[in-house]
């Protein structure tokens, strides 16, 4: 069963314009790989060159922070909602 991945903000550009996609996978890495197959370039927007979540991206699987649940190995239950949320931040210079 596909899970719903929600992408508020600019990341919708990376998946064809919608703030929501469905994807298959049992881990966050599999989910991202499935999205990448249909929307090449997506992974690069959310992962750095070492394959880790970019610092300005926070990912929640249900209520769980993916960074504290194994990163790309974090398990994604079939009924989970994944939210990929870009930071809201700035600084004075």
């Amino acid at each position: 069963m596909p899970v719903t991945v929600r992408l508020p903000g600019a990341l919708r550009d990376a998946v064809g314009g919608d703030n929501k996609v469905s994807a298959d996978g049992r881990t966050l890495g599999e989910i991202f790989a499935d999205i990448e197959r249909r929307h090449p370039g997506f992974r690069e927007r959310v992962l750095d060159e070492n394959g880790r979540l970019r610092t300005y991206v926070n990912v929640y699987i249900g209520e769980a922070d993916a960074r504290q649940s194994g990163g790309l190995d974090a398990p994604v239950p079939a009924d989970a909602e994944v939210m990929v949320i870009p930071a809201m931040a700035g600084g004075w210079r």
């Binding site: 903000g9 870009p86 004075w92």
Partner: protein, 143 residues
């Protein structure tokens, strides 16, 4: 969803942002404005979890998650992201531009450097995605 170009705030929303900025004093305050059908509805104050909040802001990611859920539940959308500049002009800094990832939201900046609040609104986007960000000021009205 595209929102109208100018930004119109109910007086209550403007006053709440200014009150938040005043209460924060010498550190940058930050938060969201929720909207419905393209009209601003209410302020959602958020915690600034930046390591150096006098010169940077970072909305607590957990509060972002909670805010998105609350807006969904209320049939609202993200209308704007606001933050304060306690001592500098209310114009997006280069870091503000680099860390702006919400092209559909307005970025509202408030400065208290002159005592009386100065508030301005901007759209920050990059086209094509990933390229240099552009800042465009949009008309802001309140009342």
């Amino acid at each position: 969803m595209a929102i109208a170009d100018g930004v119109r705030l109910p007086a209550s929303v403007r006053d709440e942002i200014v009150a938040h900025a005043r209460e924060a004093g010498g550190v940058e305050c930050c938060g969201l404005v929720a909207g419905r059908d393209g009209a601003a509805t209410r302020v959602i104050r958020c915690a600034n979890v930046a390591a150096t909040p006098a010169v940077r802001y970072r909305i607590d990611p957990r509060e972002q998650l909670a805010a998105f859920r609350a807006m969904d539940g209320a049939g609202e959308q993200l209308f704007a992201i606001y933050h304060s500049h306690p001592a500098t002009t209310p114009y997006p800094s280069s870091t503000d531009r680099a860390e702006a990832f919400y092209p559909d939201a307005a970025y509202i900046l408030v400065s208290l450097r002159a005592g009386a609040p100065e508030m301005r609104a901007f759209r920050i986007s990059s086209d094509p995605p990933g390229s240099e960000k552009t800042v465009r000021e949009v008309a802001l009205s309140a009342g």
